[in-house]
Symmetry: C2
Subunit: 157 residues, 2 copies
DNA sequence: TCCTGTGTTGACGTTTACGTCAGGGGCGGG
DNA sequence: CCCGCCCCTGACGTAAACGTCAACACAGGA
């Protein structure tokens, strides 16, 4: 206990993490991180054979995880990360970049519409459930926004 | 060509579809539809052995497809469809329903935040790309909303 | 010196969501 | 009566995204 609690902190440290530290921080498994690397999503520095993750790696991994939450495949996420990389660098092949970005924007906008539709419907169901509980039983709103028209439930729009 | 173009339209018809008709209409394969049925997501009427899909089945399938676009597993979609079913009927086990609905609402709201973050970032990248193209080359906006702060690109928030 | 803990690279297992035959039935047309 | 077309039910194949296990290396402590 003289220096620190970390079991194998990389060299001089400086916000750098081992794989299991990063994994714990982002709530994934080391295996998953290695897998993402094998898929070309991240390329951490190495000290000898050991992987060392800096801020940028962590940021990239966060983007990967966000993409996953949005339901994209690792391949799609890779393509999408390349947008950032391209934008980050000298911005070459700008037209290609623009195409990809816009395609992704369209997808996301559709997805957002889907989500909003679903939230509306779930909001209606929630209201109906609350009404059926007779209110006053300790039930409170969950945070969903306005519920426009309390039409019939079950129609997907 | 005396009656209709359908090869095997169910009995008296009335908006009812065969599996391949429904599949074509929603741009999925018959196999996928059968698979969803085996997963308990839809239960079409049968004429003898043949599946016959009505309005409600079509609506349910649309919900399934929306759920898929949002990145949910079929199991999750099933649980989620049950919310609709419960709400549709006599609304029993209302508390359970409410819990599920709210849990799903929370997930969706998180997802929506993710999408909005990503759209912002992509919007910035798009703007930067447009700037780099020098404008006037026939480039127009894609439809993405306002882009608040043109900060550095690459930070995942 | 040996043990423990953490790291590495394969390699195989598993789950999900279908794709792809194989095998068989029913029905209208030529 | 046979053909072609659509339907059905298995059953096996597959791609993605890891989980799990084996075998090995290295570093620090009792």
């Amino acid at each position: 206990m003289s220096d620190a609690g970390e079991p194998a902190a990389p060299t001089g440290d400086g916000g750098e993490l081992t794989i299991s530290q990063l994994a714990a921080a982002l709530e994934v498994t080391p295996r998953a991180i290695r897998f993402y690397e094998s898929a070309g999503l991240i390329q951490p520095r190495r000290i000898g054979t050991m992987r060392v993750y800096g801020h940028r790696d962590r940021a990239r991994l966060l983007l990967v995880l966000r993409g996953k939450r949005l339901g994209f495949s690792l391949a799609e996420i890779r393509e999408w990360l390349e947008c950032y990389a391209l934008a980050d660098g000298q911005i070459r092949q700008t037209r290609l970049l623009l195409e990809r970005v816009r395609s992704r924007i369209r997808e996301l906008e559709r997805q957002r519409r889907d989500i909003e539709l679903t939230l509306e419907e779930l909001g209606r169901i929630e209201q109906e459930a609350i009404r059926h509980l007779g209110a006053g039983t300790g039930v409170r709103r969950s945070g969903a926004g306005a519920v426009p028209a309390p039409r019939c439930v079950g129609g997907p729009g």
